[in-house]
Assembly symmetry: D2
Homo-oligomer: 280 residues x 4
Amino acid sequence: MILTLSCPDQPGIVAKVSTFLFERGCNILDAQQFDDQETGDFFMRVVFDPYGADRDTLRSEFETLAKGFSMRWTLRDPAERYRVMILASKFDHCLADLVYRWRIGELPMDVTAIVANHPAETYTHVDLSGLPFHHLPVTKETKFEQEAALWKLIQETQTDIVVLARYMQVLSDGLAAKLKGRCINIHHSFLPGFKGAKPYHQAHARGVKVIGASAHYVTGDLDEGPIIEQDVERISHRDTPEDLVRKGRDIERRVLARALRWRLEDRVLLNGRKTVVFTD
Amino acid sequence: MILTLSCPDQPGIVAKVSTFLFERGCNILDAQQFDDQETGDFFMRVVFDPYGADRDTLRSEFETLAKGFSMRWTLRDPAERYRVMILASKFDHCLADLVYRWRIGELPMDVTAIVANHPAETYTHVDLSGLPFHHLPVTKETKFEQEAALWKLIQETQTDIVVLARYMQVLSDGLAAKLKGRCINIHHSFLPGFKGAKPYHQAHARGVKVIGASAHYVTGDLDEGPIIEQDVERISHRDTPEDLVRKGRDIERRVLARALRWRLEDRVLLNGRKTVVFTD
Amino acid sequence: MILTLSCPDQPGIVAKVSTFLFERGCNILDAQQFDDQETGDFFMRVVFDPYGADRDTLRSEFETLAKGFSMRWTLRDPAERYRVMILASKFDHCLADLVYRWRIGELPMDVTAIVANHPAETYTHVDLSGLPFHHLPVTKETKFEQEAALWKLIQETQTDIVVLARYMQVLSDGLAAKLKGRCINIHHSFLPGFKGAKPYHQAHARGVKVIGASAHYVTGDLDEGPIIEQDVERISHRDTPEDLVRKGRDIERRVLARALRWRLEDRVLLNGRKTVVFTD
Amino acid sequence: MILTLSCPDQPGIVAKVSTFLFERGCNILDAQQFDDQETGDFFMRVVFDPYGADRDTLRSEFETLAKGFSMRWTLRDPAERYRVMILASKFDHCLADLVYRWRIGELPMDVTAIVANHPAETYTHVDLSGLPFHHLPVTKETKFEQEAALWKLIQETQTDIVVLARYMQVLSDGLAAKLKGRCINIHHSFLPGFKGAKPYHQAHARGVKVIGASAHYVTGDLDEGPIIEQDVERISHRDTPEDLVRKGRDIERRVLARALRWRLEDRVLLNGRKTVVFTD
């Protein structure tokens, strides 16, 4: 079982939480804490073997403890896999990568749907067999309706997490707000550098020597959401914008996959405009 | 205060330790645990604000708890800085780097002595002012006596940690055993590749595309001690062995400095032939 | 057009080659040279716009120049794509990755065949549509026959380059010799560390802090062939052997893909036990 | 000898240059070219053994060839070392690093002066023995005069290259213009992210997962000059702004040292707002 929590810091949190688990016969396998001395907030992730302790009982009993500390918290059996929807546009390298990783068991999730603003034929070379596919093309005129359809689909499929796998449509503020803390985007630049459109072309024009990609939570503020993971690769003056796009695909894939896996393992906690990531 | 401990895993360790601290009014600022499922050993590092709790009292009271779990443990006030001896040979880049980092406050330690098998003139460009310098030249014939002198010096100066900063003499098994867990060497290769002499020349001959350096605890078995930290850098066919030596200096410096700083902050715990490193 | 050459160094090579091209109306777009001062060998790769110069004429005329310098050389129109055979075993992440990169145009090659020692059903989630698939299971008893069948297939399909994409069979010395300079293997360790079987388990047992993968030419000497590319990733004490296998997949994929792309672009020149790689 | 040149591309440049060298008995040891297909400009760096050819004769004869192609070019015997002035402020890690690298022969240059806006006592732990030190404190009122003094010093000392080694004063547009292509600054962020003051604090506030440093030519436009080299390091939510400052020192040191060494070896060619760097 995985417990995560955050609350205003005060003495005794670790003692109370670990004693709570010990008294119910649970054994802690891994635990990480973080005390944000700037904000005074405390963050914790505990993985424990419940040794037969019942999840629902644990949950209702923990509720009392949690209230006393004003905790935001989650308690989850990893066997209950998160339900994930993947959104894609024309470029399908992130989509293909996530689906492959899922198929070989690297991403512990249930895929509720693939949603794309391009038709299914776009993705013939990605093995989407067994996965519901929805074509929701978006134009300025239809954006409002299509977002409503998307939101309906998210609800109907009981989707927990939405992944924008190089989905090239900006979500409206309203939808972004509804998906707070559970919508992950991959931006193809090393944020905060090169926000917005065509970041590799911007990077080429500026003459940087390293490019990157950033996985972040989506907020109403474009490319300003809390960053979950970033990575980079060296480039040289020889690289054309097309070379950067190619090299970038590799960075995007691994950054998005890492961010998603951490999220699926409850390693990512929101901390205002930032994230606490208890990496493996 | 920093508490570290390791012991056979069993339920309740975190609960007991955190409750112990809570009952004495201490507040946990940072804590990391690791449960080695292979060996069944548990490792923990806790940083806490004692809020006036007395160190000696804490120590004697914790002794009882520790015994019950068969813990190896340390409890230290970071204000009591470790006493560190640095050994160097002809190449002084690691020595110069450590001394500089110490002078600007990056390495929280007291330097007990600089010991070298080359005379003081070798290091005129390193600012050793205020640091006791000992010239202990070593030959096959004098090795035994010089190691005895070194050991005497370590004891007299109450040295906690010995750093081999590109010290090119192999310690005898006997001395290595006495310094178990407190003697850090920097080897100029990415272990286990290229053990022994002239690793950069070996790397060049093999045609590798990445070189590295490894900081490890010294044991009687040359270059086989528990690894604390490693890092690497890309190279190309253009690089001569001399280029590798040059590029390697940068890797060695940062790897050794990182390993030492982690050791000074009680982040490095021995785990058989391996280390647990609770990095920052 | 891409010209590569290597020969004993002497003054005038660049002058002769560039003048040769200039006199035939060709314009050099990119050129890289390397003079191995250890062996006295010279290496060069030139990309030029032929401006209508005929390839066959260029080739026969260059032959004369090349003989005078005892050059090994190649002259190729990138439009004539290399013919590549991919060999795979049970783990198909490298296979899937190479096929995907090929489909989106990242790897300029023609795939002659997929050969596996596991049946086609193993790879249902990889889109092998349109690719000839050959199941050549190998046992101690059948190895000789199967290698003969493989070699026959290589010849019949006019395969230029053979890629061992985590193919878990060791080629015999005889076949390795026939494929000199055109068979690329991905070894899942940072060579020369952890040769042979189960390198991630070896790495875990040794307690290294960084793992890697190496793409190299196959020779009769296992994991000792000329290295083309290597890359690494940081790990920690938390990582189990299974985590290393997972993290390793990402390294293997990108290292093998990079090595293959460079080979497809004539960027990799043999230099005895080493390679000269004129990277982009 | 090292020849560098840039000019509008046209067929025959490599042929003409290499034939020029061959006819004078010179042997090319290393050569790199780059054809910027966007701007149509061609860049080249050639290292050759003159075999007794006289530098001044080569230079005057090359002038004719250069004119025909409208080349900007340099021809230099590495034995004529560049004359370098280092400017520093309170933080001296880059200063100390450069001086150390110079003393052990890693940076082939003559140091003309150390100039600081803090008094000499600030740097007691850096070995400045034998180096002219100038204290030029700057206030709003004195900036104009002090820049004039600095410029006079640059001229009097025949300084070729000025290095701002964490010098915290912004050069005026006028002085920046005079030093075009020969003044290197280290900015402690991964440009274009976090321009201006306190970049590590900006990075901490934004919650990035990787920080960096950038060495660039100084222009009148703050932190917008052509980038020569960048590098990065991973960070985590645990890192305070002070931790970033500490980790950043390591990045700054190696990025600035690399950029300077490349400049000293004539590997850095200006290409408009960008640089061509023929790395080793």
